[in-house]
Symmetry: C2
Subunit: 152 residues, 2 copies
């Protein structure tokens, strides 16, 4: 006997959720790579840092936002360091720790990349939605994220 499978509407929602995530990511990725030479994860790192005091953050805090695994973050920060956009220094209060911080060039690069990125986000995400759809989507997403954050 089959377990209760997804009904037609559920299936469409689930597949749509996966497809939308994939497609949106791909478009954003391409825009960033083309216009700024950054990958999406790299851009995310710059943004997180720019929102932190002094533009600095512990590695763990950076990874905690679930963009990638610890090792993935290590790799990306190394790339950004090679590009001169980010600098590592050891954490003064914990000798195990490392804090990554934006360099001047990092700030410049981020400011230069932001408008193009923003335009793409609007184009592929917000512009396609009515106000009501956006509200509904936001509500659902909020519920999802809240739940996922709890159960790990």
């Amino acid at each position: 006997m089959e377990p209760d499978w997804l009904d037609e509407s559920e299936l469409k929602t689930w597949e749509g959720f996966l497809a939308a995530g994939t497609m949106v990511n791909r478009l954003v990725e391409q825009q960033l790579k083309q216009d700024a030479g950054l990958s999406h994860p790299q851009y995310e790192v710059l943004v997180r840092l720019s929102n932190a005091p002094e533009g600095e953050l512990r590695m763990t805090e950076l990874a905690g936002v679930a963009l990638t695994s610890k090792s993935g973050l290590s790799y990306q920060v190394t790339q950004l360091e090679k590009a001169g956009l980010v600098r590592r220094r050891s954490c003064p209060t914990d000798d195990r720790g490392v804090v990554a911080g934006l360099t001047d060039l990092g700030w410049v690069k981020l400011r230069a990349a932001a408008p193009g990125h923003l335009a793409m986000v609007r184009e592929v995400f917000f512009d396609g939605l009515t106000k009501a759809q956006l509200e509904g989507l936001a509500d659902g997403i909020g519920a999802l994220v809240g739940r996922l954050r709890d159960e790990g």
Copy 2:
């Protein structure tokens, strides 16, 4: 002067959208790998094939659903072929073409993997949403997918 940046609510929605996609994908991926030894893309291929007549589909049709690039699909099908779950044969009506089809073992594997996968999808996605939230989410996703499918 700054371009019109996302307001607080928009930002939360956008970041949530990315985070939800990432987290859900990770959990599904882990479940499949652990319980069935399949990656999510591989499972997707099996599902698409199982929904096609005779359990067979042209490579292009498989790739068209935006799971991966052409080369990525080629790779995954090769992996599935090595595992004995999928078989390739040349397309009778087009000598360039290749049709991939489920083997008996492929059907068995898929049927065995489906319940666990379904349970995980319910757990991380549907169970966290009220009926109203699900409707809103479905509506928004539908709009997004419709729009993205058009503009490539």
